[in-house]
């Protein structure tokens, strides 16, 4: 069953690429509007050989990593505080919910104005996108800790601290990881869009520069690299999840 699923998926991808190749060669013809997969592959190779790709990837990766790590650490911390104190939750909850629902990416031009064209404006955009799902999931995970499990530990005379360490933290772990996983996709979007608004280098900058010069193969090359990074990171994360919280597998 699973084997067959894999086969079908591979066929589907291969068929899609073929259609794409055929469409762009025969139907569209004008490479101003669409680049064929073969052209994109060639563009990636050229960009890689010239060293341009590495430069762009490096910048974007640094922006993403800095923003992601800062947002994860502070997001988990804020989530912990909100779960521990009703008052802190009362103060922070409206902001967290409000900002989570806001497309904060629209603030990117403002951040650019504040922090300049360098990487920190992008880092801030990534933070605003990654932080809130992490906060919300951490808080929810800690708060939904099963009362029955807490009571079980309490029956042995456990202290609050023991309950927190032995029950609350591990039962919140799957939620925290889900929030972090959600943050990968959001963070990548943040990097690219923030770079589109203004930057000296990065995959988003490569995209806007290629669009300005009608270089579709390069534009698609950047998109493909981004997609690959997103898929790889999410898959890697699922792998980590399976090992860290195996009990949520089913």
């Amino acid at each position: 069953m699973k084997q067959q699923g894999w086969g079908v998926s591979t066929l589907s991808i291969a068929g899609g690429l073929l259609l794409w190749e055929g469409a762009s060669r025969l139907a569209v013809e004008n490479s101003l509007f669409l680049a064929a997969p073969s052209q994109i592959a060639l563009a990636i190779v050229n960009l890689a050989v010239s060293g341009q790709l590495a430069r762009h990837v490096e910048i974007s990766a640094a922006e993403f990593a800095l923003g992601y790590v800062l947002a994860s650490v502070s997001g988990i911390a804020i989530g912990l505080i909100m779960a521990e104190s009703e008052r802190a939750k009362g103060i922070l909850q409206p902001w967290v919910s409000g900002l989570y629902a806001t497309p904060t990416i629209a603030l990117a031009p403002l951040f650019l104005l504040w922090l300049g064209i360098g990487i920190w404006s992008k880092v801030l955009v990534v933070i605003t996108l990654v932080l809130f799902p992490v906060v919300i999931n951490t808080e929810a995970g800690l708060r939904t800790t099963s009362e029955r499990l807490i009571e079980m530990l309490r029956s042995f005379g456990a202290t609050r601290r023991q309950i927190f360490v032995k029950i609350s933290l591990p039962s919140a772990a799957p939620f925290v990881l889900a929030g972090l996983k959600l943050g990968i996709g959001r963070g990548l979007i943040g990097v690219v869009v923030a770079e589109l608004f203004g930057s000296r280098a990065g995959l988003g900058q490569l995209i806007s520069q290629s669009a300005d010069s009608f270089n579709m193969p390069n534009l698609f090359a950047a998109v493909v690299v981004l997609a690959t990074a997103g898929i790889a990171m999410t898959a890697g994360f699922s792998w980590i999840e399976k090992r860290l919280v195996p009990w949520t597998r089913d």
């Binding site: 042995f156 005379g157 772990a173």
Partner: protein, 261 residues
């Protein structure tokens, strides 16, 4: 029995939630090594009673003493076996069973080897490193029992531990519990809905009535030990069951008719 000091002594125990009186002036002395069951209709406060003895809830009046010492909060002199197994899904069977000693700061190698013996005793040899999701309901309840026993409690408190098991598994678990209990003869307080389960397991059955929850009658079960399942088909056994049923029948009927069970 009157000559020795009781293991567990409950006197004048009452409990109210707001204006609702759940338990009214319960008094009972239980000797060391006695197996006591508590039966009664829904809402008779039998689980609340057990939870107060465990220290998970506070009484409104009256007191609970173990070996003469006043009970105020939970502690490892009591082991609580819950209705739902409450196993931690991220811990193995062994580490679940060890959590009591761990909380008490006594997770020593000795505690570990004793817990391994207990897992063997409850029939889980070879499953020490399994995770709860890999076990059946009956096996999970065995871990639940081993976990309570791992702190070597003076009193074992069991809250309908077999209620969620299917009928056949429940019967097996009853005989298993008897077998395990025969090894150490700990004092047991066992709450159940099943009258036959109470009679089968116990030295004495406390029959509770409802509104307010109170001790209606103490039935001495004078059946020989060790007991096997065949006992359930003897006339003496059936007589005990009938007698207890007659004590709670009216209460049950009322609760079913007026509150939909």
């Amino acid at each position: 029995m009157a000559a020795v000091a009781p293991k567990l002594s409950v006197s004048g125990l009452s409990k109210s939630f707001a204006t609702l009186e759940v338990l009214s002036k319960i008094g009972i002395d239980i000797a060391d090594g006695e197996f006591i069951s508590i039966v009664g209709p829904s809402g008779c406060g039998k689980t609340t009673f057990l939870r107060i003895v465990a220290g998970l809830e506070q009484a409104s009046a009256g007191e609970v003493r173990i070996d003469g010492n006043l009970v105020k909060q939970p502690g490892i002199d009591r082991g609580f076996v819950f209705q739902s197994d409450n196993l931690l899904p991220w811990r193995t069977v062994l580490n679940n069973a060890l959590i009591g000693p761990e909380v008490a700061g006594a997770a020593t190698p000795q505690a570990k080897s004793r817990t391994l013996d207990l897992l063997k005793l409850v029939g889980l040899a070879g499953f020490e490193h399994y995770f709860p999701r890999q076990l059946s309901g009956g096996m999970r309840q065995r871990v639940n029992l081993a976990r309570a026993l791992a702190v070597d409690p003076k009193i074992l408190l069991m809250d309908e531990p077999f209620a969620s098991l299917d009928a056949q598994t429940r019967e097996i678990m009853q005989t298993e519990l008897i077998r395990i209990w025969e090894q150490g003869r700990k004092t047991v307080l066992f709450v159940t809905h099943q009258i036959d389960e109470a009679v089968f397991l116990s030295d004495r059955v406390l029959v509770f009535a409802r509104r307010p929850g109170r001790l209606r009658e103490i039935v001495d079960i004078d059946l020989p030990r060790p007991r096997a399942l065949g006992l359930k088909r003897t006339p003496e056994f059936v007589r005990y069951v009938d007698h207890i049923w007659s004590l709670i029948e009216e209460d049950v009927r009322q609760s079913v008719l007026h509150e939909g069970g």
